[in-house]
Symmetry: C2
Subunit: 410 residues, 2 copies
């Protein structure tokens, strides 16, 4: 059984069903209505995952490569046609400091053989005429794409049901049920139990909040709050075609004339409030880049909790020293990107198969995301992870990665 | 019967019930969920009504004076205790132009004997420490007050029911039913009819949109779109105590730590969209005045249609040449202020009584708001009024008013 019907839980459910398992998913609301609904949907292993972190980069590239097949499989299973927007990404600089940062970024991309193209303002504005004339420099990253995560969760929920799985909605889970040190199910808020041969917790940033999980098995995911706006062009799509990245922000076009303008990155615990400063700053920064942003409708103000681990990498695999308990969380800013591999990462472990390629340098994807790498890290009552020492099960570090600790303290 | 359970229809219903009539109110939604819900709630005959317009000013002052009694009556009838915030208003200038405008405004107030106090920035900031240091000048208007319109409509709806009236909710009215040139009822969207001895249309900016109203009897109210934000201080009330006015905007504190930040004034027809520029500009302007605005939560983005007549004055009274049809609309930016007299204005005509004082200069309030003053004005299909000539039934103009036509073209 799986707790959480989002972009972690649903792909796992579907993958396990396709391997012949019986799967029951419970969610406190409806599928895809948690953080998955808030995600901007970038499939951006280069711009989003920070290419000076080779482990993260390669995991992201693996996920990116699997998206077309993932979408094909979903279409075959459900009839849902999910559009991957492959217009690429334009990272733009608004001033000299940002231009220098872009050039550093380009150097890293060159080193890793990632295709990028440096564009002067006039060339960038030829490709995206809505960009402000004050633009200083741009980089085109052609391989980064985007999807609408809401269409993905809708398709996944249908795929799970079509494959014989069950999704129990509006079901608040109070805690884990253990028997003899093994996970045997979960308890609903009304006290009733749901039994299962294994329990996968895919509850996003709240995954470690459930009662009944032994302290040593908890994973140190914390909520990194993000605020986003959904804007809409009443005249339809076309104002901007590429994903635009700038400083800390982005503008992600959808096929229907909507745009996602994000995002803040806040260490505020489990705080759900939309704040005036965030809305103001997002609109100000977005309009500085694309003045036409101010002509759009504001249709949604969103808050999400990125589930973030101390090293910024996903936490997918078996729990430390609790049999039959599995984790699928920690996807930080990349829950949509990783949705194409989260199912296989978890299912490969649970079914003792090996479907993910091992061709990625010295990196075994399953080892990279193994929750047990944090087994000596305690979880505080506020959900924040506090490293208490070395990580004994840390995957081997790529020698070219430089100072990884600092890189991950973001 | 009354169409519209807002801050026009409900006071009329209650007043007529208190005079012994049988009253049925229909509303397309629930009471007070239209424009009344969006109103900031200022009881501001001086700052809001523009004191160089003596007719408007005196009507506004009459309404302001009646608010304490109105609230007492509502409390006696329903137990609802409505708090009138009597902390006054501080009109502030952020630059030299605004400071000069404030001084002109002060001169007008002095001429009409309206109490105002000129404050240098340090004195203003002593009274409202949250004001930005960049403040240039302020005027305190002690008599302008504010209420939360949502508490007022809730109390009024209870008062109507307690007095024996009926409120039919979620009832879309398609049009007026006439018989022999008289209004005899309305038709629901499902085709069924509601009969009544008289029909009062209190449908806000949409009042003239109902089918079946003879062209000559329609009133030229148009929607003047306003966008507002509701902010909330999670630490409770107290950041700002007075209503703050600045240029085109205002910040209205509520007793529970909420603040209404408004408002745009847009000629956009019946457009309901929240726009990025409005939200951005409201927050930017509000934060320029009170930097702490950006620390607040953004809890609502609101759009309302001010029901606006060509002269900016309410339209309350009998329709031109259609017996038993009455109008109660056109309250523009002052629907909350006028709620204390709208009931009496309409009921005095309908019941041929005279409860409103006539002591206001040469002004008979009922003549001022008489819908028949527009009987030669046509209504366009977009709801915009186009004057087609002189207003034959215009009330006498106060000789001190100056160029009234221009004053009202706002």
């Amino acid at each position: 059984m799986i707790v959480g019907a989002g972009l972690a839980g649903l792909p796992i459910a579907w993958e396990l069903l396709r391997r012949g398992a019986t799967v029951h998913v419970v969610d406190r609301g409806r599928p895809g209505q948690g953080t998955s609904r808030v995600a901007a949907g970038m499939l951006a292993p280069v711009t989003e995952v920070e290419p000076d972190d080779p482990i993260h980069l390669e995991l992201g590239q693996l996920a990116r490569e699997r998206w077309p097949g993932f979408v094909d499989d979903l279409r075959d299973a459900t009839g849902h046609a999910i559009a991957i927007r492959t217009h690429g990404t334009l990272a733009v600089a608004r001033d000299r400091d940002e231009a220098e940062a872009l050039d550093r970024f380009r150097g890293i991309c060159d080193r890793f053989g990632l295709p990028v193209e440096r564009l002067m303002p006039s060339a960038a504005r030829k490709r995206e005429p809505a960009l402000a004339p004050t633009l200083r420099l741009a980089l085109e990253i052609p391989d980064d794409a985007a999807v609408d995560p809401r269409t993905v969760t809708a398709a996944l929920a249908d795929a799970v049901v079509a494959a014989g799985g069950t999704i129990e909605t509006d079901c608040e889970v109070r805690g884990l049920v253990l028997a003899g040190g093994r996970a045997v199910g979960v308890e609903r808020a009304d006290g009733s139990a749901i039994r299962g041969g294994a329990v996968v917790i895919a509850g996003g940033a709240e995954s470690s909040r459930f009662a009944g999980i032994p302290e040593h098995a908890r994973v140190p995911v914390r909520p990194v709050k993000g605020q986003l706006l959904v804007l809409r062009d009443p005249s339809g799509p076309g104002m901007v075609e590429r994903v635009l990245r700038f400083g800390p922000g982005y503008l992600v076009p959808r096929d229907d004339g909507r745009y996602v303008l994000g995002a803040t990155t806040e260490e505020r615990g489990f705080d759900r409030t939309v704040t005036a400063w965030a809305v103001h700053d997002l609109l100000r920064d977005g309009a500085e880049l694309v003045p036409g942003v101010l002509d759009l409708e504001l249709v949604e103000t969103l808050v999400g909790w990125r589930p973030t681990s101390p090293d910024g990498l996903p936490v997918v695999g078996p729990a430390h020293d609790v049999e039959r308990l599995w984790w699928a969380t920690g996807h930080h800013r990349n829950g949509v990107l990783f949705a194409s591999i989260t199912g296989a990462l978890l299912a490969d472990g649970l079914t003792a198969e090996r479907t993910l390629p091992a061709r990625y340098a010295a990196i075994d994807p399953r080892a990279v995301v193994d929750p047990r790498r944090f087994s000596s890290v305690m979880v505080g009552p506020d959900g924040a992870g506090r490293p208490t020492g070395e990580h004994p099960s840390r995957p081997p570090t790529d020698p070219g990665a430089g100072a990884r600790e600092e890189d991950h303290e973001r």
